[in-house]
Amino acid sequence: MGQIVCAWQAAIGGARGLRVNSGFARMAQLFPQYTNTLARIALPCLALGFSVVAWAVHAAWFSSYATEVNTPVEQPVPFSHQHHVAGLGIDCRYCHTSVETSAFAGLPPTETCMTCHSQVWRDAPILGPVRESWTTGRRLRWKRVHDLPDYVYFNHSIHVQEGIACVSCHGRVDRMPLMAKQHSLYMRWCLDCHRAPERHVQPMSEVFVMRDEPAQAAAASRLASRGELRGESPPIFERGRQAVREKAVRDTRLEDCSICHR
């Protein structure tokens, strides 16, 4: 071993430019025993390391940090869907008026808030901004929670018309004190549904109802997430498929680029 130590010292010395005596220079073993083990495990380690890094990047991409799933967003007014939807049982369309007719679901004007809050919680401090907006006429500035890239053209009205329930994308809003994304909104996620609408499409009566995605859809997405049942369609989808037929969804087109991108 001692020999090795001075081999390295010499190596450093050599690096400093000292010339070392040739007797030493011709020392028998250049590398100590353990370097064999090192060398042997080096290659597998390299391969392993690479795959670990790749996996990590991939995981990060789909992590809730990147997708911001379940991370509530600070709002000027801490509006609670839980209270208004679950508590008071207000229908989605009361505030999101254009959801059935326009691409944009619509955010309520201050007026809408004031219809009630001119009567109830008249001087609750948290409603200060609302009252201020009402009196000054200055608009409220809400933070976007579901923000698609600008090159994606999502249209609420058609999805509602075809029987995609609010919960399918926005989750159980009625359990959210502060609004938070429920899905990554990645293209891959959109395609999951566009490739098999019958897993999510429901009769109109269900669309605005705040209950967990119907059993078949949940089951389906579970199966789908495990990459099973592409194409084939067990009976649990019958209801959905019927709805699809009624709605005449042209599912051949749902995978077209032009459906979302222009």
Binding site: A25, L30, S184, R188
Partner: protein
């Protein structure tokens, strides 16, 4: 002392000496400085390109591909000689390859590296180049496998990787020799790591030769495939002057043609400077020149058959295209190509030319210019006048086009100069074998 050991000792000592004992020559320094300056030019051109966009080049509609693709094809072509020499000539038992294969393999690697640069740079959005690779992305999308550009990605990376493996395996025994002969311990450690503990064991040698032979067998179709795939970029398209079935063979011939030209332009000065005239002899130059002549004639055949097909098919667009190449606004390009690639190459019929380094050097240079211009002809003069006269246009190269090209030359030569300093440019072990067995 017995002959074999003595010869081996001489060869080994001399060749390893080229790296271990060679002083820093002024010629080397000058060359390196020049190459490095050009490399710095590339260092300016690339950031500016990324900041402003490909618009800083002369490309436009209709000529949407410009220098980037010309240079890409040119470099890839040059990258062919190395593998050709080390793989195909190995299978053909051409002893003379031994003196130059290591050097030309290195050349191949660097040329392919330069080539690989351009397709990336010429993208409109280079920062998303990885969309060309298949991986599970958030968009659930894949590359479009029917596009020759995807084939390029695979072909070039494969070619680079395989050449690298081939080159490295060739190096291992020599690295061992360097390890054992280097004076400075730290150098011995460094070479030692590269040598992977090679100890000249007979059993190792056997597997080694087997693997080397297999790699040669693999590299041979590969080298032929790479330029075929590159030629598909054009042959698969419908542009008159691109859409041609003879492109693959004609591109491969051209590649080896220009590759050997580059080999000679490099080897002739090197053998002079490092006094290797006895190892890289007139005989080697002669052989290389003969290969050049042969491939040159193949290229000429390519041109000829292109013309003949145009005439025979009587396809109006092609007819116009070939006429336009000769007499259109870009006529100088076509005539330069003919003069250099067909004209200059004919000088190689004379042994005098083939064996005189100076003349050969000149011819090789001309051929390289000719082959670059040929790619210019194929890419630009085909695009600038295609189907609808209303969309015809012209291409004007900009300063940045030239800067990037010069920069790539800088990259190439910088790598080459470094290689000459750090690694044995002639395969020592193979020379040992040849000097001892070669004489029987």
């Amino acid at each position: 002392m017995a002959l074999t050991a003595q010869r081996c000792e001489q060869v080994t000592d001399r060749l390893s000496g080229l790296v271990l004992r060679e002083p820093l020559r002024r010629g080397w320094l000058a060359g390196f400085a020049l190459a490095f300056a050009l490399l710095m030019l590339l260092n300016v051109a690339i950031p500016w390109l990324l900041i402003r966009g490909v618009g800083i080049w002369g490309v436009n509609i209709p000529v949407a591909w410009g220098f980037a693709i010309v240079n890409f094809v040119w470099w890839i072509g040059i990258g062919h000689a190395g593998t050709f020499i080390s793989a195909i000539l190995l299978l053909l038992h051409q002893q003379w390859r031994t003196s130059i294969n290591r050097f030309t393999e290195a050349m191949t690697l660097f040329a392919v590296a330069c080539a690989g640069l351009f397709p990336l740079l010429h993208l409109g959005r280079p920062w998303v180049f990885y969309w060309l690779l298949p991986y599970p992305d958030t968009m659930a999308l894949w590359p479009q496998w029917r596009s020759p550009l995807v084939w390029d990605v695979f072909a070039v990376t494969t070619y680079l990787t395989v050449s690298l493996i081939f080159w490295f395996i060739g190096l291992v025994p020599d690295l061992a020799t360097m390890r054992d002969r280097a004076e400075r311990p730290w150098m011995r450690v460094v070479y030692g790591i590269g040598a992977l503990g090679w100890r000249n064991s007979a059993r190792h040698w056997k597997r080694y030769e087997m693997a080397y032979l297999l790699l040669a067998g693999l590299a041979t179709p590969l080298v032929l495939s790479v330029h075929s795939v590159v030629s598909f970029d054009f042959a698969v398209a419908i542009v008159p002057g691109w859409h041609s079935t003879i492109f693959p063979p004609y591109f491969i011939a051209g590649a080896i043609f220009s590759g050997f030209a580059m080999v000679l332009t490099l080897v002739i000065p090197v053998r002079a400077v490092y006094g290797l005239r006895d190892l890289i002899t007139e005989r080697h130059l002669d052989h290389a020149a003969k290969v050049m002549l042969a491939t040159g004639l193949l290229v000429a055949l390519g041109y000829a058959s292109e013309q003949w097909m145009t005439w025979y098919a009587d396809e109006p667009y092609d007819a116009f295209m070939s006429h336009n190449r000769m007499f259109g606004p870009y006529w100088p390009v076509w005539w330069t190509v003919m003069a250099c690639n067909i004209g200059a190459a004919q000088a190689l019929w004379w042994r005098r030319v083939r064996t005189s380094p100076a003349l050969l050097f000149a011819v090789a240079l001309l051929i390289q210019i000719g082959m670059w211009t040929e790619r210019y002809m194929i890419v630009i003069t085909s695009l600038h006048r295609d189907f609808l006269p209303s969309s015809w246009g012209m291409f004007h190269a900009t300063v940045w086009d030239w800067a990037t090209f010069a920069g790539s030359l800088g990259l190439f030569f910088t790598l080459l100069f470094v290689f000459i300093r750090l690694l044995p440019m002639i395969a020592i072990a193979e020379m040992r074998k040849q000097t001892t067995e070669g004489r029987e």
